[in-house]
Every structure is written in C-alpha cells, then in structure tokens.
C-alpha cells in the first residue's frame, strides 16, 4: 500500500482502527518476570529467537519465564539502552512493540551492539582510582 502523502490515507486506516498488528499481544506480558508462567509467552521466546537473542529453541517451547528468556531480555535491554532488569517491564515492552527491521540484532551469537561491547565502553561504567 503506497500513499503519496498522509492526507491520501483512507479513513479506515486512521487511529480508531481496531486492526491488530503483528506484536500487539505482547502488551499482555507487561510486568512478567522470571518464574512466571503466562499463556502465549512462548511467542515472546520465538521473537527473541528470531532476532538472535535466544540461539536455539527446544522443540517443545514452554510458556515458562525461564533463564533463557531472562538472559535474552537482559541482552536486549543492553542493546536498546534500557536498564537490564531481565523483566518485561513497561519500557521494554514498549520497545519490543515498535516496528522494526527484520534483520537480527545478533548473528551467529555475536554482536557489536551495546551488549557485545566490553563494560569499559559503556558510559555507565564507573572508573575508580586507588590512592
């Protein structure tokens, strides 16, 4: 669908539209934390797998908020300059919901986005000198 300008977009596509988008359901996972088990959470694992944050998924993906999901979320949060809580807090969910490029952030387990850089490169690193 191409629109030459904003005013050419038909009214049925305008803000009141209730049409669901690809990741809308992730909103339901706001506040989820390690140890939780929530229906559909396996889709979140598939999301993180797709973008390289979970290298391998088991054949029977569960809805458990397990260590692999927590680790993936922490890495994601570092890459997107969020506090690495390992939880699906509101800020993290809002970031996840944003439309994005389909290319993975982590390819073959490696990245030079924030999460792949040494701690000393992070602006939050506190440098101390002993006297």
């Amino acid at each position: 669908h191409f629109f030459p300008n904003i005013s050419s977009i038909p009214s049925w596509l305008r803000p009141n539209s209730t049409k669901k988008t690809a990741w809308d359901e992730f909103q339901n996972f706001t506040g989820c934390r390690p140890g939780d088990k929530i229906n559909g959470l396996n889709k979140m694992k598939q999301y993180f797998h797709y973008f390289g944050y979970i290298p391998e998924l088991p054949s029977n993906i569960t809805d458990d908020f397990d260590d692999s999901l927590e680790s993936a979320i922490k890495t994601y949060q570092k890459n997107f300059n969020l506090e690495p809580t390992g939880q699906l807090d509101s800020q993290t969910i809002q970031q996840i919901l944003r439309p994005r490029c389909g290319n993975a952030d982590i390819v073959n387990g490696t990245t030079t986005m924030n999460s792949g850089k040494p701690v000393s490169n992070n602006t939050s690193h506190l440098h101390t000198v002993g006297h």
Binding site: L13, F51, R100
Partner: protein, 194 residues
C-alpha cells in the same frame, strides 16, 4: 555501529552498483525516486554510486515488495512488526513488507496514524545492511533497529558515517557536514511524543 560476522563488504572492483525493482511490483516513478534519494544518502559519504537498472535480473541490488512467506525463510508478518530486511554484501537482496502502509512523501510527521511508515527512512536503513552494516545501539543512528510509526529519520548520524567509511573509505567530495541526525518526530503508540 556493527558489522555482519566476517565483516562482508562489496569488493573493491564493485563500487558502481546498479539496482532494480521486481517488475511485478509495478512501482511508480515516485516510489522509485524514494529509493534513489535513499541511495544518495550513502553515496554522499562513501566512494560508491548507485544507478537504476531496467534489467532486474542483472542488477546488483534487487528490491521487491513481498507479503508473508516469500521464499527466503524470513516471512513477513503483516501490518507493522517487521517492515523489511536486507542481506549482507554481496547478496544485494532487499525485501519490503507489502502489507505496510508506506508513505512516500516526507509529511509523515504530520500524522497521528499509528500504522503509517515512512518509506525513505526504512530504505536508508536497509541500504546500510546491503552495504555491510549491522544494527547500532545509537538511537539517533539510521542503523538503530526500530522505527516508530509516524517517524521520519533519513539523515545519516555520525555513527553510521563512521561505520560505513571504515568499510569503504570516504567520498572525496564529502565535507563531513552532511551527516546530521534529524529525527523529526517520534510518536509512541499512545500518540504521545517520546
């Protein structure tokens, strides 16, 4: 900035690339011009040129709009979600999700429409992948992975320029002042500015 594993790039004997569009898409000249503008952002800073070819099959860069499963193992997911993807050099494959509401002009920032996506912003980003850049954690960078609907971001940031010039060198005509980050407006899903 980041690179793909192995830091792939176009070889030194391929600095003048051609691009073509999937004929079945039957894109208008206005749409094609958006891509020309996007290529221009990169050719300003590196010694490479990008020219439209009428022969899709022989073009170095092949651009197409597709929906759902389109045969490369990376299916599109409908409105929003993933918008596009592109392959590392020298593949040249550049795919966009035909389900999106692509806006061609630069007036997207005047809209509160949550599902409209600025085509040129996405094109500039994906061309970065075609040239060898991965994603960046710098939010102002073109290579930052997400773009909020209602946002237009088409100017290379310092991070993008540094990354791409490390791969290809600098365009001799580049004076270092064209790369600024202009994120004109960002609208969250709730409609509030962020």
């Amino acid at each position: 900035y980041s690179y793909f594993p192995g830091t792939p790039r176009w070889p030194s004997n391929r600095r003048d690339l051609t691009y073509g569009f999937v004929p079945e898409n039957q894109l208008t000249d206005d749409v094609k011009q958006v891509f020309a503008n996007a290529f221009g952002k990169w050719s300003q800073v590196i010694p490479m040129t990008f020219n439209l070819s009428d022969d899709y099959t022989s073009a170095d860069i092949k651009i197409g709009f597709f929906s759902g499963d389109h045969g490369d193992g990376e299916p599109f997911d409908g409105v929003l979600g993933t918008l596009a993807h592109a392959f590392s050099p020298p593949s040249g494959r550049f795919h966009l999700d035909s389900a999106e509401n692509w806006v061609i002009s630069s007036d997207i920032t005047t809209s509160t429409l949550s599902s409209a996506v600025d085509l040129e912003s996405v094109a500039v980003h994906e061309i970065g992948h075609l040239l060898g850049l991965g994603h960046s954690s710098v939010e102002d960078a073109i290579m930052y992975p997400t773009i909020s609907s209602g946002t237009r971001k088409v100017e290379l940031a310092g991070d993008d320029v540094e990354g791409i010039q490390a791969l290809y060198g600098s365009n001799p005509n580049y004076n270092g002042t064209t790369a600024t980050s202009v994120q004109q407006r960002e609208t969250s899903d709730s409609g509030a500015y962020s």
